[in-house]
Amino acid sequence: MIRINLLNSQHAVAHTRDRTGETVLGSERTVSTEARKSSRMVWILTVGLILLIVGGIMLYTKRYEVVAYLEQYTGPLNILPVQEVALSAEEIEEQRRDKIRQLYMTNTYRIQGRDLFFLSKMDSLRGEARKPGYPRIASLSLEGNDFVLDVYARSIKEFAELTKAVVTVYTVEAVKPYDPKPSKAMAGYRYYRPVEGTLRIPSSAETDTSLVETRYASLDKARKMVTDLAVKNRLKAEEQDEMKLTKGVVVNKYRVGLKLEGASSDFFKFLKQLGALSINVEQAKCGIVYAEQRDARKPRPDVMEFDYNVLVPVRVTEARADSAARP
């Protein structure tokens, strides 16, 4: 007869000692190990929950700073209501100046767009000079709204067609005709006549919705950006040493002269890209002297004179300190 009694185990199972020194069965050890694991998990979850709550509270209190930080990379998120806080007089003044600066810069970009349009149009007119019976534009210059073209022609009649073409350009407000003079400055051309005129002032931005966001770079950084951009566009850039400062209430203007050498088409690319950067750079003067190409195998570079202003904002606190330091 097979005799067994399952009430008691005939065979010893692995025993071990627990922390209190009492022997425990493996199964009991398993239970206590599981209990310890569960207890540890509860602790981890509790600490995690507390951290989550603290993090949530901190995030809520700093929500405007966090969103402002994120908006640097993502653009306006508009996920928080406008913060209505009592601003100090200084902050209000700073906001007002910001608004002025923005308006100014927005108008500057518009003017630069107009200038680029005009310059490229004139450049295309110069291309027409290859046609027989068409005058030659030796240089062009634009400062503010005023422009000057140096034109050479073989006969006096040729000037009329060019003048007509310039007048019909949309951005040109008026042209002052001068009498043609005989000249031997340009080989093959007998007459010289400057074409002076003014450009239309573009409509200015008046509402907040039309404002363009400007990235304000420091003076050095802005200069470096401009020079790098020119070099990138295969232009030889040489910055003039002299730099003129015009102090203002809202912005200080640092006028920088830049002499560029290269193809005029690259110069226009440079201008276009500079406009797209939307940085605190204002185009002040732009002149192109077209080189006379005598040998197609040895192209001579055009010379461009490009003056620009770097607009450095004047903060209220800086202005106050400056005036206090003045005797």
Binding site: M1, I2, R3, I4, N5, L6, L7, N8, S9, Q10, H11, A12, V13, A14, L25, G26, S27, T30
Partner: protein, 354 residues
């Protein structure tokens, strides 16, 4: 010595005699009576068996229908079998059971049964390690979560045949906790198929032709076969069957596996043998019996072949013309007693051990 002193001394002697007699009576009951309980589906089968000089006598037996579905693992959760104590207490009181010892037979499929071979030269420690390792190969959890018993089936030569029986510790603990307040001592916990084997051993003689006896426990979910040479278990074979298989399918599987079993046995022992008889027990036995191949000489286990049934349960034999006016003989009722094989076997095992 005064009269009163004499009276008190006599009274003391009488009282001591009574106590001694009571103690002897209890001791006799303890030694000669045992109760076996087995679970089958939703029923509890119980039997109280007495050991007499003429053999074993079933004094009480019966079935209690419950709402518990035994063998499904509910034995491991105390709240699921909380009522078991009430059922058992009610059974003891209603049937006037005098036994003080109980052997509880567990469903076979709650138990892991393995027949292994151990080296005879093993030291005690080596044997312990070997048993734990061997048992661990057959269960998913650690062997320490089981109560493991082993029983030597046969010994000879350089190895021993060992039967390893293991049950989850929580089943044992739960049943012990549930029944600890009962009026009867849970003395032993056994397994259905081994109790059926005990019933077979007590009731059947060895086969005269020398064939093997297959004791097949047929129940939904698992089928267990003990292949016995006389009473020695030579093979333990368990295989699962679908709980929803019909009796025909179970019979087919049984036939098939008995053939495999014999092939294995012959390969291992190198002896040409045949199955002389197949004894079916447990729930599905009556329904599967018609589907078992006649080659295996199948029959339901008869637990009352040699064990006698109390006169109270016997019925008058039908009269024949030859019997004349003689009082009618008392015979067993025409009932299938095979469901009680496990509980009878469980009780008998306690008495044999005593």
């Amino acid at each position: 010595m005064t009269t009163s002193n004499v009276e008190s001394e006599v009274r003391e002697v009488v009282r001591e005699d009574d106590l001694e007699r009571q103690f002897e009576e209890r001791s006799r009951l303890y030694k000669t009576l045992a109760m076996g309980v087995s679970f089958s589906a939703q029923n509890i089968h119980f039997a109280e068996i007495g050991k007499e000089p003429s053999g074993f006598l079933v004094r009480k037996y019966g079935t209690i229908a419950t709402t518990m579905k035994f063998g499904s693992g509910i034995e491991g959760v105390e709240k699921n079998i909380r009522d078991l104590n009430s059922y058992l207490t009610g059974c003891l009181e209603d049937n006037g059971i005098q036994a003080r010892r109980l052997n509880l037979s567990l469903n076979t499929h709650l138990v892991s049964l393995q027949r292994v071979t151990a080296d005879a030269a093993f030291s005690e420690e080596e044997f312990e390690n070997y048993v734990n390792w061997e048992f661990g190969q057959h269960v998913l959890d650690g062997a320490d979560q089981y109560v493991i018993n082993s029983c030597e089936l046969s010994s000879g030569g350089a190895s021993h045949e060992i039967l390893l029986v293991g049950v989850r510790r929580r089943f044992v603990d739960t049943l012990k906790q549930t029944l600890e307040k009962s009026k009867i001592d849970l003395t032993c916990m056994d397994v259905d198929v081994l109790c059926a084997h005990a019933a077979y051993e007590v009731n059947y003689d060895p086969l005269s032709g020398g064939g093997l006896t297959a004791l097949a426990e047929v129940k939904p979910g698992v089928l267990t076969i003990l292949l016995c040479q006389d009473y020695d278990v030579k093979f333990v074979y368990q295989f699962p069957v679908s709980a929803k298989s019909n009796p025909g399918k179970v019979g087919f599987l049984l036939n098939q596996n008995l053939d495999y079993l014999m092939d294995d046995y012959q390969d291992e022992s190198g002896v040409q043998a045949r199955i002389g008889r197949t004894l079916l027990c447990n729930v599905l036995a009556p329904s599967v019996l018609p589907h078992v191949d006649k080659r295996f000489n199948p029959s339901l286990i008869e637990p009352l072949r040699k064990i006698r049934l109390s006169e109270d349960y016997l019925v008058a034999a039908p009269r024949t013309d030859e019997s004349g006016d003689a009082p009618a003989a008392r015979v067993l009722p025409a009932t299938d007693f095979s469901p009680y094989a496990e509980c009878f076997g469980a009780a008998v095992k306690l008495l044999v051990e005593a």
